[in-house]
Symmetry: C2
Subunit: 664 residues, 2 copies
Amino acid sequence: MSEHTPSADSSDPESVVEQYEQQLEDVLAEVETETPRDDEDGLAVELAGLELDRRDFIKAGAVAGAMSATAGCAGGILDNGGSGTSSPKAASSKPDHLVPPGEHDEYYGFWSGGHSGEIRVLGIPSMRELTRIPVFNTEGARGYGYDDQTSEMLEEAGDYTWGDNHHPNLSETGGDYDGEYLFVNDKANGRIARVNLKYFETDAITDVPNVQSVHGTTVLSPDTKYVFGNGEFRTPLPNDGRDVHNPEKYTSLFSAVDPDSMETKWQVKVDGNLDICDSGKEGRWVISSAYNSEEAVGIKGMTHDDRDFVKAFDIPAIEKAVEQGTYEEVNGVPVVDGTKSSSLNSGDRPIVKYIPTPKSPHCVEVEPNGKYAMIAGKLSPTVTILDLQKLGEVSDPAKAVVGRPKVGLGPLHTTFDGNGHAYTSLFIDSQVAKWDIQKAIEAEKGSEDPVLEKIDVHYNPGHIQALEAMTTDPDGEWLVSLNKLSKDRFLPVGPIHPDNDQLIHIGQGEKEMELVADHPAYPEPHDCVFAHRDKLDPATTWDREDYAGEKPYISEKQSGVERTGEQRVHVKSSVKRSEYGLQEFTVKEGDEVRLTLTNIEDVRDVIHGVAIPEHDVNLAIAPQDTREVTFTADEPGVYWVYCTYFCSALHLEMRSRMIVEPRD
Amino acid sequence: MSEHTPSADSSDPESVVEQYEQQLEDVLAEVETETPRDDEDGLAVELAGLELDRRDFIKAGAVAGAMSATAGCAGGILDNGGSGTSSPKAASSKPDHLVPPGEHDEYYGFWSGGHSGEIRVLGIPSMRELTRIPVFNTEGARGYGYDDQTSEMLEEAGDYTWGDNHHPNLSETGGDYDGEYLFVNDKANGRIARVNLKYFETDAITDVPNVQSVHGTTVLSPDTKYVFGNGEFRTPLPNDGRDVHNPEKYTSLFSAVDPDSMETKWQVKVDGNLDICDSGKEGRWVISSAYNSEEAVGIKGMTHDDRDFVKAFDIPAIEKAVEQGTYEEVNGVPVVDGTKSSSLNSGDRPIVKYIPTPKSPHCVEVEPNGKYAMIAGKLSPTVTILDLQKLGEVSDPAKAVVGRPKVGLGPLHTTFDGNGHAYTSLFIDSQVAKWDIQKAIEAEKGSEDPVLEKIDVHYNPGHIQALEAMTTDPDGEWLVSLNKLSKDRFLPVGPIHPDNDQLIHIGQGEKEMELVADHPAYPEPHDCVFAHRDKLDPATTWDREDYAGEKPYISEKQSGVERTGEQRVHVKSSVKRSEYGLQEFTVKEGDEVRLTLTNIEDVRDVIHGVAIPEHDVNLAIAPQDTREVTFTADEPGVYWVYCTYFCSALHLEMRSRMIVEPRD
């Protein structure tokens, strides 16, 4: 254990607090920060029935430096690489994370790509990236955003060229992953996208009305009745220029999207900024973390008070309010009032319960049994344990808090192994803490420290995920810590560093965590979710039925050019290895060209591409798939259409010649 | 050795040919092909002084099926996974390719990204992707194509949203990598880009005039005097609508680009389509493979004749012609006539020598000593060895061919280990053949078969690269085979499969090739180049001097808003952990907003992002860097500027508020 790490088995809570306090002082002494520290008044606040000293909070003013990712790096004292509680080297006693050539990984990992806008699919435990799925970005290799269908989808969803996806969620049936869809948010533009897991392709994007930023996202367990999105940023409602200077009128919304139609069915207006959410297992509760109960517009105001309020959305109660018409319609969506003072929150069954927690909690994860929601403290070194059963029973939501273990500095996210253990990432400590859920609850009555083990990670972890931790039956074994910074862990690649996703073996016992592999990750893999390979069944070629009626299927014989207007032609072509059905076609300068191509092969992995130089045309067509693109042939000349997927030894010679004749 | 593989140590050339012939028959019997086969007339052709039977060529008509990537897969007979000449499993006797947590790879690998438009940087031998460098694509994670500077660069280079980069080349000084730049082609739009290896960022893109598609690319050894680009597609010159129906007037050009100014200095017009090129080591020769001497416009015509002509560009001779004004200027570039019939090719020192080879050769690689260029046969099972010393001496270029070893079906690319061995990828055989260069030359006089060993790869390899194989002093040890298809090697991810880059240990001896790891690769990693880590010295923060005069440096005190016109404002802000220098700013509806931000931190790996919802604004600013973006605030409302790089525990609260007031 490195010098600065608080003792995990200390049984004196006061001494633990003092250690944190001292550590914070040390950090502050080391880092440059121009912000004066508040005085330490030691004021104890009564919070959720538990005594927490004011020293348990990290001051907002000091936090910019103290909690910064590189504070430790600069000062040296948090830079604990290689000196952790567990060995950072791979050991042969663990199951091999290497997957030999030709063998398959056991799990799919779906990584959000952050502001790259994509989803990444990794094999676990090898950590090899199997593919990328462009979602909010256009992408050349798959021709995504280039064919008419995907480019129109992106255009209709706001016509942005990027997105910021944070939280991938797999669809569920009967509480287990059904392998149908993955849903992910766009924090940058308030959108939710759906990825079809038959084709590993984004098939729908919805621009959620009235919301500027969708952050936390979850599906409603057990049957994906809704996909929920937390509107993080508070804005005027609607945000059309009114009330811009009246922050007290800003609001944030919790949105329920239908997973089939992708329509927003209803929204709930709440106090404060919504952050991350997770669903209970029973279809009733969705718990959202939240910050800025102060409803301030600057960082000091946002972190002024010592408490914030996690929101528990009672889904059936909200549905009832919508059904009864107790809402205001804004931009076509029923908006239900879920603010603290709303009449809908005053009766026996409030639609939103406000649970007090230490200020600015970061994440909510519901453990596999669906009994408890874990709320990581971020600015408090604790995790708040919320009993979902009690939540439905007590009138004071604070009474549903059944534990608040101290886990370390900067707790952000919690994951589970199915053996009664929780693992919480510690952003400031650059560690993962493993703790016993039951002991943490009992600890409130004076029993032993629930923290079993800590392991150093490198550096500053955000989300962590263990195998199928979000299901009712996690598989344990491996955990991935998504660390925000890699600093010196890899060969240098210029000023923009990769993140570092570390693979940790978590074993079955109490003290078995072992760092196995570092994995550089292109910014910013925000979160991930794992599914056993048996739960997915992707197609290897296209089913023509899936686009019948929308797009034609062009055989070799149907290849040809049809003039459909004075300045409009429809070019149709099959494509197979080495050969386009149409090896040349002539259009007139200024023609709008609709190009329809079908890959007539039915052999797995024989993709064909369609590139037209100087026209920004770029399609990727999988076997039995048809893609269309419409463009203008605005410059006369000869243009060589070529295949971008190396499909045969005569791939290089595979060409179609587009002749654009001068108009006169 | 699997059943279908021709015996590597057969000493009877006729029996080898018969085996290929039989194999081809088997393949054809298995695959669906509608193209009737030509008859086998057995006509022997005198070619470069060597007897080659017509059976050594694969028929163009049959090739679409026979040489297709999945022919073997469909028929089962090429599907030789796991039954190769060497074990496909990792063995403990080789140096470990795993790089333990916290340790660094020994080599950088730069991968072209094909039609993804990017460069990928891998660590070797771990094969971990360290970062991506967007080149021809826009990319959200790095804000590339979003700040004014990079978006203007892309716009000026043709305003395309993608590119197809194939051949990454590192700059050289004194014949060794100097770590300054990487150059890469765009096959889709006739461009060449330069990546600055101090910052791992694309800093220049040039749209090469008169050229539709730049394919092969190389720098002139030993000092990067030029970057050369092979114009692959034959078009009218200029391609402005003239001669569109007269293919005999189409031409292809070899272009010389200045690596500093990125201007095209001169071009050489040649017969046929240019393919791939490599530089000799002495600054005189650049050898280009070429196909379609027939100058046909369809695939049958392109592969009709039994021979093609590799081009040897004599750079000093071309420079002299330019100097003497023996050129035609087209779109501002001197175009020298290097066609076979040109008067510049009739004297003692022709500017381009035409070396006959079996038809449609694919690639040229010059071995480390600079003595020989290896030209892989593609449709012929041979590699043609060209003696560069002799090339300068003989009047008949065919006499410079000193060997033509038979290596297997579909030879595409050759790499080197510095120990006298060459390794050639066999696209159809799905193998890599290791052969002895000296023996191959001697074999012409009747000595033993130069092929030492073959290893199965999975499947259908294109480029292969061994460590620093393109330098005068390769490091051997590891070789990567970039296989076009992965078929069943990984967990399925829908109809668009990853490629498969396989890591092979090549040892020092004659029969030591061993497959160590499969590495799925997002389409399409076309080629790669490796450099020892000691040869690069990337910056970890920005040098302000590198943008002084172009962009300001905004300190905290300089943060503010300045109205610069009736509908124009300049917003300036510093940014550091948790805090923008400007925490709110107000503009008017319709204003053009110029936003300038400086990351005032100087700590490695503390990047800050700038996202403005619903405005497609997205910057990534490394320490000490300044970025600018100009956009229009066209809709009134409140917009929350936020940071996309997780920089501190208060990252989530890090915000600036953009208020867009209604204009009246």
